[in-house]
């Protein structure tokens, strides 16, 4: 009897929290909601050390935080989320660590794309952006399968930056632009901004309005340098597994404060490229 009333209380509390969250999102929706929020998932290993876990557990907690934030963004009406999961520079870490991350990624991708998985449940299309040739074959195949299987989903696009750096992305775009122009033979057409953008790994999404980096580090670490040139940068001190609704809300409120200026700036940026 006590167990039943206990679980009823828990359910009621859960419903109340859910109701309050939805109310909060309704309130935020009075102002503009960003279309695209990008995250640098910094602090998983520090979290593991803080709670005396091994690194693998820290990454698992980080994955849970990602799912939590994805749900919040979905409810809020954000259409694109980009997450910096693994940089090309991270390949320089200890092999065991790289191995841990790759195994976890494989495990999680396979779990996510099941029919009853969260991606299909929420209508999330997943895109892996980066130099995927650098990944091991098993991870690359799983990533390609995930992209295929979720291609029809329309509620939210989750862009996973893996084997990615912005400078590699721009170099790759330059190579592709050069190949395109060379193919035109004697007609020397000048490379334009639209050409460069078209060849970016991140071309699937518009530029993010907000870039949120956890762990209090205030640097871009070679992430979306092109796309975040006018984004609001926010770096809360919380480690990635500790990130929650309050950080997203704070970021959105700050975005709403500067949004009229950003909107004007974007138009100027667009107009200046047409000149």
């Amino acid at each position: 009897m006590e167990k039943q009333s206990g679980s009823v209380v828990v359910r009621l509390l859960g419903s109340l929290v859910g109701y309050m969250r939805r109310f909060l999102f309704r309130f935020l929706s009075v102002g503009p909601i960003p279309h695209h929020v990008a995250f640098i998932l910094d602090g998983n290993r520090r979290y593991a050390r803080k709670w005396k876990m091994d690194d693998r557990m820290g990454y698992k907690m980080g994955f849970l935080a990602l799912m939590r934030l994805m749900r919040c963004c979905h409810e809020l009406g954000v259409k694109y989320i980009t997450v910096y999961v693994f940089s090309i520079e991270n390949f320089k870490r200890r092999p065991e660590e790289v191995q841990t991350v790759m195994e976890l990624m494989l495990e999680k991708i396979e779990g996510l794309i099941k029919e009853e998985g969260i991606l299909n449940q929420y209508g999330v299309r997943v895109v892996f952006a980066g130099n995927l040739k650098l990944l091991s074959e098993s991870v690359r195949i799983a990533a390609e399968k995930a992209m295929r299987v979720t291609a029809h989903n329309k509620s939210l696009v989750l862009v996973v930056a893996v084997a990615y750096t912005s400078t590699d992305e721009m170099t790759h775009a330059a190579q592709e632009c050069c190949r395109d122009k060379a193919d035109h033979g004697s007609q020397q057409q000048l490379v334009e901004l639209a050409d460069v953008e078209r060849h970016m790994y991140m071309a699937v999404a518009p530029d993010p309005e907000i870039l949120l980096r956890t762990s209090g580090e205030t640097r871009l670490s070679n992430f979306m340098l092109w796309q975040t040139s006018n984004s609001l940068l926010y770096s809360p001190a919380a480690l990635w597994p500790e990130v929650g609704l309050r950080h997203l809300v704070w970021a959105v409120l700050n975005f709403q404060r500067v949004q009229p200026y950003l909107h004007k700036r974007r138009n100027h940026l667009y107009l200046s490229t047409q000149q």
């Binding site: 060379a182 490379v191 070679n222 340098l225 040139s229 500067v258």
Partner: protein, 277 residues
């Protein structure tokens, strides 16, 4: 309030400011290689080699004081002079300043004209000082849109100071980080067409060589400072900021002085840089 302000048109700040950083370094006793005040203890060996600055807040500064925008820019010029001197004294090798963005052309014409005139006058008046201080000037951005006289002035400043080596002052004028990347792609496309390089052989080193910052051996800022509390990069250096530590401060640019700069450097020296690893 207005009458109490001492903004000297075209002249530097009062003498105490000009010499204070030199005095400060002389007066502070050991520990060895420690610099600056007890409030901001700094280590010379951890000084950033290249500092970049987005000098934001001049117009807000003027509006808050009921002054015309031109006064804000004048005060901003004073802050820049302080910054150049401080950087030189602290052993910083490269200082890149975002003087005018390609997006700024959309400001009211009157404001843009005032800024261009100030730029012209400031450069004319300061060139000799910069030469004596062993400062080398470079310009990045598309200067072809500037007045001919200003273009000529800039070209002369670059030529006159090219052998100087104590501090390299890079002035970003009509600059856009994205345009810099696009023009690098354009140059590479021409090289491919001319058979100088294969597309597959284009790597990050080859790309970087085509960017505007190829005028320096240290193109990557270690520290970027943006004043006035805005938390964004605003299309300043893009590629070059890959591992730059970003420092945002609420101070408006004309108020950004020695203390604020030392605070920024102190924050930089406390950070653990991992360069992506």
């Amino acid at each position: 309030m207005v009458s109490s302000l001492q903004i000297r048109v075209g002249l530097g700040l009062p003498e105490p400011h000009r010499s204070s950083s030199v005095d400060l370094i002389k007066q502070v006793p050991p520990p060895p290689r420690a610099l600056s005040s007890a409030k901001h203890p700094l280590l010379r060996e951890s000084m950033p080699r290249h500092v970049a600055v987005i000098m934001d807040g001049n117009r807000r500064w003027a509006r808050m004081r009921g002054l015309p925008v031109g006064s804000g820019y004048e005060a901003g010029l004073g802050a820049l002079r302080r910054m150049v001197e401080l950087s030189s004294n602290l052993g910083i090798r490269v200082l890149t300043v975002f003087a005018f963005s390609s997006d700024n052309w959309f400001r009211p014409k009157v404001e843009v004209d005032v800024l261009m005139a100030l730029f012209d006058r400031g450069l004319r008046e300061e060139l000799q000082n910069l030469v004596s201080a062993d400062v080398r000037i470079s310009v990045i951005g598309d200067s072809s849109k500037l007045f001919n006289s200003l273009q000529a002035l800039l070209a002369n400043a670059i030529e006159t100071t090219k052998k100087n080596s104590k501090l390299h002052l890079i002035i970003a004028v009509n600059y856009s980080g994205r345009s810099d990347v696009v023009q690098a792609c354009q140059k590479l496309a021409v090289k491919v067409k001319d058979g100088v390089i294969e597309p597959g052989a284009i790597d990050e080193v080859a790309f970087e060589r085509e960017l505007g910052t190829n005028c320096t051996d240290f193109p990557h800022p270690d520290l970027l400072i943006r004043t006035s509390g805005e938390l964004r990069v605003s299309n300043f250096l893009l590629w070059q900021l890959a591992h730059t530590e970003l420092y945002f401060t609420e101070s408006l640019w004309p108020d950004f002085g020695e203390d604020e700069f030392l605070q920024a450097l102190s924050s930089f020296q406390e950070r653990q840089r991992r360069f992506g690893c």
